[in-house]
Symmetry: C2
Subunit: 197 residues, 2 copies
């Protein structure tokens, strides 16, 4: 039987990454988030910060080319996508784990027994949280959120043709703003344990 | 403090209604589904079957007018919406309960402490299930599902301006096809009990 993997997609500031870490810790599973970036950086030869940013940009520039015709030559982002695809597939083959972001839900479709999770929260909750977690920036927290979400959605759509944040793409979606980050982690843990038996 | 209400929106054939009944039974709460239709029918003076169908049609015909300009005169559907709005608001004021369908999540926003749930499943699961539950019809199960879902989405959009099935509109969305109907009910029950304390 294939390994059981939890994939977590998340809105910026919703605490989805923290949920992933808590779930992994409670279940004694590895959580691939920062480690995933490092692996992709190592295998691709790109800098880790570049890998991080490129995971949120559709190739050739945000939106401009995501919706228009582009040339045939693969871009750096396309190459990165291939490496990411391979790294995530290999990680899932190694054993049960939690993978945060990077379209893992799409990459592992049909290949692993995934519990596909999406974490979101309303704008106010996220705005307060990103200032707490990441500090103040020049742009307002609301603007930073809108920008990040748009990029993630465009990236997801470009490479997967799935609509980011549509309930139908996931086994479970949770509002961390109303349910709380800890409770989200407990719910996912409960579902995973129940399924594994 | 306002009463705590569970609202359940659902794709046709996903078993959302069954989930609602199971949750209500487990928690000892009234479940308004058929009873809701009866109340609306009684208060509006319309036939129950008309009320049932009208809850899935945007006024003046499906899609045609949902996206175009229409006259100022309120339609039967608009009147029905007003009655539905009043009945659902009154039910939520009476005490904790489960309400299935009829845009209750939207109607009760800001008025009740709602746990907003959306239940969905993939087309194959729903096609098998509607034949089991409702029997064969002339149209294929897939066609019946597409038709019903489109109507519900258009109705929801027309009256609420919310996008049906978008994770962001709910506290939790669950895939009954992968998680199972019983498990969906248990998860919702767990969240409700945990919140009430």
């Amino acid at each position: 039987m294939s390994n059981r993997v939890i994939t977590i997609s998340r809105e910026f500031g919703s605490g989805g990454r923290t949920v992933g870490k808590k779930v992994a810790q409670a279940l004694g599973l590895p959580c691939y988030d920062r480690e995933l970036l490092q692996k992709i950086a190592k295998e691709s030869g790109f800098n880790e910060n570049y890998v991080k940013d490129a995971g949120e940009y559709a190739p050739g520039g945000f939106l401009a080319t995501a919706f228009s015709h582009r040339g045939f030559a693969p871009t750096n982002e396309d190459y990165l996508w291939e490496v990411q695809y391979r790294v995530i597939t290999e990680l899932a083959e190694q054993g049960p784990c939690v993978i945060v972001g990077r379209c893992a839900d799409y990459i592992l479709r049909g290949k692993a027994d995934c519990l596909r999770v999406f974490i979101h929260a309303d704008l106010d909750f996220r705005a307060r949280r990103i200032v707490e977690v990441y500090g103040e920036r020049e742009a307002s927290p609301e603007q930073r959120i809108r920008d990040k979400d748009k990029r993630r959605a465009a990236y997801h759509r470009f490479y997967t043709d799935m609509k980011w944040g549509h309930a139908q793409n996931y086994d479970i979606t949770l509002n961390s703003g109303t349910l709380g980050i800890d409770r989200c982690a407990e719910i996912i843990q409960g579902i995973y344990e129940n399924k594994v038996e």
